[in-house]
Amino acid sequence: MTPDMQLALPARAENIAIVRHALGALGETYALDTQTLSDIRLAVTEACTNVVVHAYPDGGEGPMEVLATLLGDELTVVVRDEGRGVGPRPDSPGLGLGLPLIASLAESLQLGRDAEDRTEVRMTFSLSDGHTDPKLGLDGEEAAYAELSDPPLPL
C-alpha cells in the first residue's frame, strides 16, 4: 500500500524535529485529537532516536525513513533504517526504555526487516478511541532492538 507520507532524512538528531513537525501537519490535517497526536509524536520520536543513536555505529551516517499510512481509523507509522539492525548492545548509552514506551503508546508494535533487509519499527495507532490494550508484536529473533537490554515488559 502506498503511504500517505514518506519522509527520508539523514539519521541525525536535528532531523527528528523535522519528523515531529511533519507528523504535526499530518495530525492537524486528519484532525487528530491532541492526546493521540502527542502519543504518536512521542512514539515516533523514540523510534527515530533509536535510529540516530544505534543504527549507524562509529559515527557513521545513513538514512532514516518515516512512512505514515492512514487506513480506516488506524494510522500506521513505519520508521526504517539501513543500519546494523536489531540486537543486544551491552554498551548501549540509553536506558532501554524506548521500545517499552513505544509499545505502551501504540496499539501494536512490530520490529523486523523489510524485503530489502532494512530495519523496520512498525507502529499502529488507533484513532477511534484513544488507547486500547497495547500489544507488543515481535517479529522473530530480531525482536530486541539494540538499545533494549532487557526483554520487553509484559504489557
Partner: protein, 137 residues
C-alpha cells in the same frame, strides 16, 4: 554557518530531505512544515521563508494535476545561503506546464518571481523530468 563542529570549529550547514506525499489534503501542510523546518535550520531570513512558503503553496495547488501515479515527490536541499527544491517524477512537459499554471492574477508567476533560479532537468530514469527551484538568501 553553525557551531556544531568538533573543537568549536564551525561546520558548513547542509541538510537534505526527500518527501513523497499522496495526492490529497496532506500535500500543502506537510510540504510547508518540512520546508519551514529545513529553512529555519539553515538560518533563512523571514522574508525568504515567506517566499518559499508561497512557492510551496503554488506547487501544492498545481502539482497534483500533473502527476500520474497519485503521489508527489519532492527533494529538498539547504546549504549555506541557498535552498533547492526539486519537484521530481514529473511526466515530460509537465514541469513547464506547472510553471505556466502558477500565475496569480495581479501578481504574476509565483514560481518565477520568488525563485532566484528555475530550471527543468531530465530525471535520471529517462522517463521523467524535474522542476528545480533555487532560493538564495
Amino acid at each position: 554557518m553553525n557551531d556544531e563542529g568538533s573543537g568549536g570549529e564551525p561546520q558548513p550547514y547542509e541538510s537534505t530531505a526527500s518527501l513523497r506525499l499522496a495526492r490529497g489534503p496532506l500535500v500543502a501542510p506537510v510540504l510547508c512544515r518540512v520546508v519551514s523546518m529545513v529553512l529555519a535550520r539553515a538560518n533563512c531570513p523571514m522574508d525568504r521563508l515567506d517566499d518559499a512558503l508561497l512557492i510551496c503553496d503554488a506547487l501544492s495547488a498545481h502539482t497534483p494535476d500533473h502527476v500520474r501515479d497519485g503521489s508527489l515527490a519532492f527533494a529538498l536541499s539547504a546549504r549555506e545561503r541557498c535552498f533547492e527544491l526539486r519537484v521530481s517524477e514529473l511526466p515530460h512537459t509537465a514541469a513547464a506546464q506547472l510553471v505556466r499554471d502558477s500565475v496569480v492574477p495581479g501578481v504574476g508567476n509565483v514560481l518565477e518571481r520568488m525563485a532566484d533560479e528555475l530550471r527543468i532537468e531530465p530525471a535520471g530514469d529517462g522517463k521523467h523530468e524535474e522542476l528545480v527551484l533555487e532560493l538564495r538568501f
